[in-house]
């Protein structure tokens, strides 16, 4: 039972990341009708927003203190981040909380990148075939990925969790179990709630604002909305920016859990496409549900008991589920009729 709950929680945080990426993919597909293979690259750029911010904020000055000696008899080097010199305690706090702060910073950066990408390249591909859209965004993904590689190198760059969130939460004792039977790292808990909040935010935005209403109307019938005198293209550009933000914050948030490297985006992209297909192309709730479902299934498949029963199941479970779903429900779990049917 404990192991079951623990795996469920592990699956939820991974599922949160899948759900966020799949949500952005579906959003872009539903509004612009574009299959965006560069969406994983946006996730990766979000990760490297956090890396860059951390790098900038930890630029240090090195001074030697002649009064203190290290065990080797040389003066101790004291490294102080420049930010700490300038801002004192607030600077130290900023260094400690670099990852959460960089999530906030990723929002404007990703908005600019997303809108730039849509206006600069993707807008020319609305009337081209899906194959051409896939190819051009795939090329763009390679370019972005190689630029990041040449700037940051090919090795994963670990990001620290803020010191107050470093321990593990004793979740078991909250629900009346014996202490220390079910623990869960704080950061994973935070990131899970963060994913849920972002997903909730996106849905609220689409359902409770006038802008969201126009966007939903545009998803249903673009032409009629255009005839009503609404500049739907501009709204859809902003939706692309929104999808980029969702991918970016998901990336920044995920950095402490998985040290980012330049092809992290492509690794997640393949899985997220499977998630979208399982959820049903064009269905936002489907994408979220399938994201969590597959995350949880993957986490159960990587339990040792399951792995000894069926070796290698943890590597292929997602694809197996996708095959089964597509064979039994070709439109995915919540796919609507007439979306990408031919």
């Amino acid at each position: 039972m404990d192991a079951f709950l623990a795996q469920l929680l592990n699956g939820l945080d991974k599922g949160g990341a899948y759900a966020l990426i799949a949500l952005g993919l579906t959003l872009v597909f539903g509004t612009l009708g574009v299959v965006n293979f560069a969406h994983g690259a946006l996730f990766m750029l979000g990760c490297f927003c956090a890396v860059t911010f951390r790098y900038l904020i930890t630029i240090e000055t090195v001074t030697t203190d002649p009064n203190q000696l290290s065990p080797w008899g040389t003066p101790v080097e004291i490294r102080t981040p420049v930010v700490q010199d300038w801002l004192g305690d607030f600077g130290a706090l900023l260094v400690n909380y670099s990852v959460p702060v960089s999530i906030l910073l990723a929002i404007p950066v990703m908005l600019v990148i997303g809108i730039g990408m849509e206006r600069g390249l993707i807008k020319h591909f609305y009337r081209r075939t899906h194959a051409e859209q896939i190819l051009v965004t795939f090329g763009l993904a390679i370019v972005l990925q190689e630029i990041v590689k040449s700037l940051f190198g090919a090795n994963p760059i670990p990001q620290p969790v803020p010191s107050t969130l470093r321990g593990a939460a004793d979740i078991g004792s909250w629900i009346g179990m014996a202490p220390h039977t079910l623990t869960y790292p704080w950061w994973r808990l935070v990131s899970l709630f963060f994913s849920l909040a972002v997903i909730g935010g996106v849905f609220a935005f689409l359902h409770f604002t006038t802008f969201g209403m126009v966007v939903r109307a545009g998803m249903a019938d673009r032409e009629t909305v255009g005839l009503l005198g609404i500049d739907i293209d501009r709204r859809f550009t902003i939706v692309f920016g929104l999808a980029a933000i969702v991918a970016g914050v998901a990336g920044a948030m995920y950095t402490p859990l998985l040290p980012p490297h330049y092809h992290i985006g492509m690794d997640f992209l393949v899985l997220s496409f499977v998630v979208v297909v399982v959820g049903g192309m064009g269905s936002l709730p489907g994408a979220v549900a399938a994201g969590f479902l597959l995350g949880i299934l993957q986490s159960f498949a990587s339990m040792t008991e399951v792995k000894t029963l069926v070796p290698g199941i943890d590597q292929v479970i997602i694809y197996l589920v996708a095959v089964v779903v597509l064979l039994t429900r070709p439109r995915g779990l919540m796919g609507r009729r007439g979306v990408m049917e031919n």
């Binding site: 299959v35 390249l121 020319h124 081209r128 899906h130 194959a131 051409e132 896939i134 190819l135 051009v136 795939f138 090329g139 763009l140 993904a141 390679i142 370019v143 990925q145 190689e146 630029i147 590689k149 040449s150 492509m266 393949v270 496409f273 499977v274 979208v276 297909v277 192309m281 070796p311 290698g312 590597q315 292929v316 997602i318 694809y319 996708a322 095959v323 597509l326 064979l327 070709p330 990408m340 031919n342």
Partner: protein, 380 residues
Amino acid sequence: MFALSRKELMHLGIFAAVVLTMPIWLTPFGAAYPGLMQSFAIYAIFAIGFNILFGLTGYLSFGHAAFLGVGSYTAVWSFKLLTMNVIPAILLAVVVAGIFSLVIGFFSLRRSGIYFSILTLAFAQMCYSLAYSVLTPITNGETGLLLARNDPRVLDAMFGTQAAGAGLPMPTLMGMTVTAYTGFYLCALVLILSFYVSQKIFASPFGLALKGIRSNQTRMKYTGFDPRPYTLAAFVISGMFAGLAGALLSVTDPIAGTERMQWTESGNVVLMTILGGVGTLFGPVLGAWLIKYFENIFSAINEKILHNVFSFLPDGLENVFVAILSKFVGEGWHLTLGLMFVLVVVFLPGGIVEGSQRLIRYWRRGSAKAPRSLEAQPAE
């Protein structure tokens, strides 16, 4: 059944002549060494096979690297267990890749369009991660599958043709050891044969049915065709071509690694095909040659060479140029590849073949009608 029209025969003749004289006409380009020419021939086969699926039916597969990898592994296992002769290795690789593509195609072809691309990508990634983890006893994981001196080689032992010399045994063809130039001519012959097969498929009723599926699947259904068996057959044929290419990779260099199954390899073959021209006979071959040539040239350039090239500039400017350009060459060759990908899709969706046809038409019409042909270009 094996006959060709006069025009096709001429094309085949020209193609064979061009392929077989490669060592001569590649010399001025500095590419006339066997290793590179072998990869020219092998990747051309890969692209020809991919074009039979993508060019004729319009189904964009993002998972063909899996078949390439399966072909390589099968060939190396045939070298290890059966014989060092290349013919059983190639045949086995084609058959096994065919079986794999039959299974993957059966599932993937239930959907079309983007669903199909994603399914093939997912299957290929599944093969890749399995080869990397659980199947290590078969694939030898990250190290790659290697030959060993004490492999059983049942057939060789039976006929007493076990190689006697020291070191690892080499693949053989009719008693000849496959080395640099024999390897190239073997690949070249297989390439010419593949080109002939693809010519036959393009001209056959089967090929016409595939083209019909590409242009309008619904209408094909109404005329009484069930598109499924046709697309599946095309998928299996192209998978077998990929397996053949994989086997030749192992024949020329008997080691098989997981990196051949990675999605980048699938992306490469897509790019080769669209760079040359989708749905044309010569296009994929041209695309494969160009990409392999540029890969070879660009990835060999390093900063030192760049400094030499730009030495005529003032020092500061030289350093700036070198710093920028060095990102595009050597290790960063993939950046150039990605840019090529984007530029080709944006400006030249028909590939080189269509581009050159357009140029020829432009010259023939003369400058009087120049604005019209400019208009025809996709300016976006």
